[in-house]
């Protein structure tokens, strides 16, 4: 597995967005680039301790640029706690018994990307942050999951703890998936559905501390980042040109709304876990789960179904204008063109892109 490959879509999305930013040398952009550098360095150094320490400037930076200081303050404290636990575990400090340590570690990582009750705060922060900042709300995810995977090798615990972790992860995933069903905001929806999926991943990674699971989660993290970029790109264009501009010459000239919509549809369709499992390799994880614990596997299938329903509900709302939306205002001919573009993207581009992730 080439871990740096995970960063490619992220880098592409950042560069794309920075190009469209009015002030390239703004404080935010410098911060964003420095985050990118930190993550890359973390991967390159291949040191778990350094990786966890790199999270500190990222979190402080997120706090400094956050528009909602109060919310970010709470998030910052939570995240620092997570980093603290990770560091303690890594240096094998005998502060906590091993069993508790593993439980706390996993729960902390869940909290890190917005588990109960922290999701509510993070969700609000995502909604209120700028479109581009959304990317940076997601960026530490693969890193934190990788850290989790590395950390659990240091902690051996009982089956009981693993079951607790799996149960909490599943409950959290179900809750977030249900919540996303009524969500109409792009950014918040993406946050909820990704957090739900990642909750399952983290729980399973912790449950089966196997190499391939963590690797898969890492791939998935990269995938989420790429799609966060696409979605963020769409929000960016919408914000800059206005929703009406999607139909204007300028909007069409850049063709980005079409691409953004196509990518969105692509993402949502592949968030349909059934189709994604076929092409993306999720079945690797579920195969293992079915072999070991069939009840948990059925529970996971149920969660995936709910996630899938949420995704398709969102897609239909946005595509066909059941409720008011921007796409509904587009002329009919452009919608026709979009449908063709979408289905092309779905069928031709995606399997090749995903295949590259896997090989």
């Amino acid at each position: 597995m080439n871990s740096t490959f995970v960063l490619y879509p992220f880098v592409a999305a950042v560069i794309l967005l920075i190009v469209f930013e009015e002030k390239i040398l703004s404080i935010k952009n410098i911060y964003r680039l420095s985050i990118l550098g930190c993550i890359w360095l973390a991967y390159l150094t291949n040191s778990t301790l350094l990786m966890s320490l790199f999270l500190v400037p990222i979190e402080i930076g997120r706090y400094l640029i956050g528009s909602e200081k109060r919310i970010h303050w709470i998030c910052l404290l939570t995240n620092m706690l997570v980093i603290g636990v990770i560091v303690l575990t890594l240096i094998e400090a005998s502060v906590l018994p091993h069993t508790s340590s593993r439980l706390i570690l996993t729960l902390s990582v869940m909290a890190y990307y917005g588990a109960l009750p922290f999701y509510s705060l993070s969700k609000s922060a995502v909604k209120k942050s700028e479109s581009m900042d959304m990317l940076f709300n997601f960026n530490p995810l693969p890193l934190s999951i990788l850290l989790l995977w590395l950390s659990i090798h240091h902690v051996h615990s009982s089956v009981y703890v693993s079951d607790v972790i799996l149960g909490i992860g599943a409950l959290n995933a179900l809750f977030l998936a249900l919540l996303s069903y009524t969500e109409k905001n792009y950014k918040t929806f993406l946050f909820l559905i990704s957090a739900s999926t990642l909750s399952v991943m983290v729980a399973l990674t912790s449950f089966y501390s196997e190499n391939f699971l963590a690797g898969w989660v890492l791939y998935y993290g990269g995938f989420v980042l790429a799609l966060a970029g696409a979605l963020s790109g769409f929000s960016f264009f919408e914000k800059r040109y206005g929703s009406q501009a999607l139909c204007s010459t300028r909007g069409i000239l850049t063709s980005s709304p079409f691409i953004a919509y196509a990518l969105l549809a692509c993402f949502l369709s592949f968030s349909n876990m059934v189709l994604m499992a076929t092409i993306f390799g999720e079945d690797l994880m579920l195969y293992q789960l079915f072999r070991h614990n069939i009840v948990s596997a059925i529970m996971m299938l149920f969660i995936y179904s709910v996630q899938s329903f949420s995704c398709m509900n969102f897609l239909f709302t946005k595509l066909f204008g059941v409720n008011n939306n921007n796409f509904g205002r587009m002329p009919i001919q452009k919608r026709e063109m979009f449908s063709i573009v979408t289905i092309l993207a779905l069928l031709i581009l995606s399997p090749f892109c995903l295949h590259n992730y896997l090989v």
């Binding site: 349909n272 189709l275 092409i279 072999r291 398709m312 031709i348």
Partner: protein, 424 residues
């Protein structure tokens, strides 16, 4: 790779290539003629290719040809495997004939329609997906085609998306298709699980049956089929009269060897088919529009096909599929001119009804139940839809309480949430 395999892959790829290369050009020129000509060439190519496979491949026994390994990890292979057998080639040829007829019909039917190119695009996609399902040699490959068939079908139900109703019905259908996909995925996983062999065989076939039942609108998943009639007539013909609903029996026929070892599942299959046949016969007679009547008639015949499979009459079921598919496609394509036929042909209906044999009280009860679809929509609403939305509502209220406690969301957001919950 043999010439047969190359031809199979070419046939699968041809419609998608046509969609990618010709449709954008014809759309840009706004030329229906170009699209029509391309469609005729593609369909001719498919007919020629599939007939060559059927008559000249020389295949006498079933063979699975490994084409490509998408990935391989810790003993698990995700392989693309094609099946080569006389039955496979026959079904593929037959489906191509049905699709070609419908494509020719749609050229006139949708002339100057806003969604002409959209229909063409989805028809090409659908053709590819159907061929993938028919040619598939393992469940992993089949699942790809299975899901794409569902997606293209749902997008065509929402063809007239300016109205709310088709969109709502498309979503309703999509939810069912997803459910079917989950069943199929569960079957794949159970196949490789470590549970006891006898239990595994039964559960594997049971999940296959559930997936097939969803696709073929059998009880208790039958409510989506009448709602799917919102699409244009050619799409109804090709999806719900012709090919799509028959993919369920084909899935089971592909796994007939596994079915022999699962007697419990076979009983469930037979009973399910029988109940659906009775249900569809009753409800179909109370419907007043032709497409709904045809939908229920299709459902009933599929119930009979499933009974045949449960009883082990596999060859009979294949013949039944082919004949039923042809007849039903014809009926669906003729449905727009039903009033014209009624007046011109002056068809006289038989007065000998089977239900007259029943006592009047029983007839009234059956009529009441039939007109209310045996209360199935209400049961689904009470057992599935309402609990689901209650869970959604519960999640939203917990979220709202937390947000309110931390004052994380402003009042307008909360107001929107409350409105959404009220609408649910």
């Amino acid at each position: 790779m043999t010439s047969t395999s190359i031809l199979q892959i070419s046939l699968v790829m041809l419609p998608v290539l046509a969609m990618a290369l010709v449709l954008p050009i014809s759309y840009a020129k706004h030329s229906e003629n170009l699209a029509n000509r391309a469609c005729k060439i593609v369909m001719s190519g498919l007919l020629l290719g599939s007939s060559c496979l059927l008559f000249f491949s020389g295949t006498t026994s079933t063979a699975s040809v490994h084409m490509y390994t998408l990935y391989e990890f810790q003993g698990h292979h995700f392989d693309i495997i094609l099946q080569q057998s006389r039955i496979t080639f026959l079904l593929a040829f037959f489906f191509v004939v049905i699709i070609s007829v419908t494509a020719l019909f749609s050229a006139n039917y949708l002339h100057r329609d806003d969604g002409y190119w959209r229909f063409q695009a989805f028809m090409y996609v659908y053709t590819t997906a159907v061929l993938v399902v028919v040619y598939s040699g393992n469940l992993d490959t089949l699942l790809i085609g299975w899901e794409v068939v569902g997606l293209s079908s749902v997008f065509l139900i929402a063809y007239y998306f300016k109205r709310d109703r088709p969109v709502q019905n498309a979503f309703y259908t999509l939810v069912h298709y997803r459910l079917g996909g989950v069943f199929l995925l569960a079957a794949i996983f159970i196949e490789v699980s470590n549970i006891r062999t006898d239990i595994r065989e039964n559960f594997f076939v049971l999940f296959l049956i559930l997936a097939a039942f969803v696709k073929s609108a059998q009880l208790p998943f039958s409510t989506w089929l009448p709602r799917a009639m919102e699409g244009p007539t050619p799409s109804s013909a090709i999806f719900y009269g012709g090919i799509s609903v028959h993919l369920g029996p084909i899935l089971l026929l592909k796994h007939q060897e596994a079915m022999i070892h699962a007697p419990i599942a076979q009983v469930i299959l037979g009973v399910g088919g029988l109940l659906t046949a009775f249900y569809a016969a009753g409800v179909g007679r109370t419907k007043t529009d032709i497409k709904n009547q045809l939908a229920y008639a299709t459902m009933g015949q599929l119930g009979v096909i499933y009974m045949e499979i449960a009883l082990g009459f596999y060859t009979l079921s294949i013949i039944h599929i082919i004949l039923h598919c042809s007849a039903r496609t014809f009926q669906f394509l003729k449905s727009p001119s039903i009033l014209h036929d009624h007046h011109v042909l002056k068809l006289e209906r038989s007065k000998q009804y089977f239900e007259l044999l029943l006592p009047k009280k029983a007839r009234n009860v059956i009529y009441y139940l039939s007109i209310h679809e045996f209360l199935l929509p209400q049961v689904i609403k009470i057992l599935i839809t309402k609990p689901f939305f209650k869970l959604v509502s519960l999640a939203s209220s917990i979220d709202r309480s937390i947000s309110k406690y931390f004052k994380a969301e402003d009042c307008s957001d909360l107001q929107t949430k409350i409105q959404v919950e009220n609408s649910l």
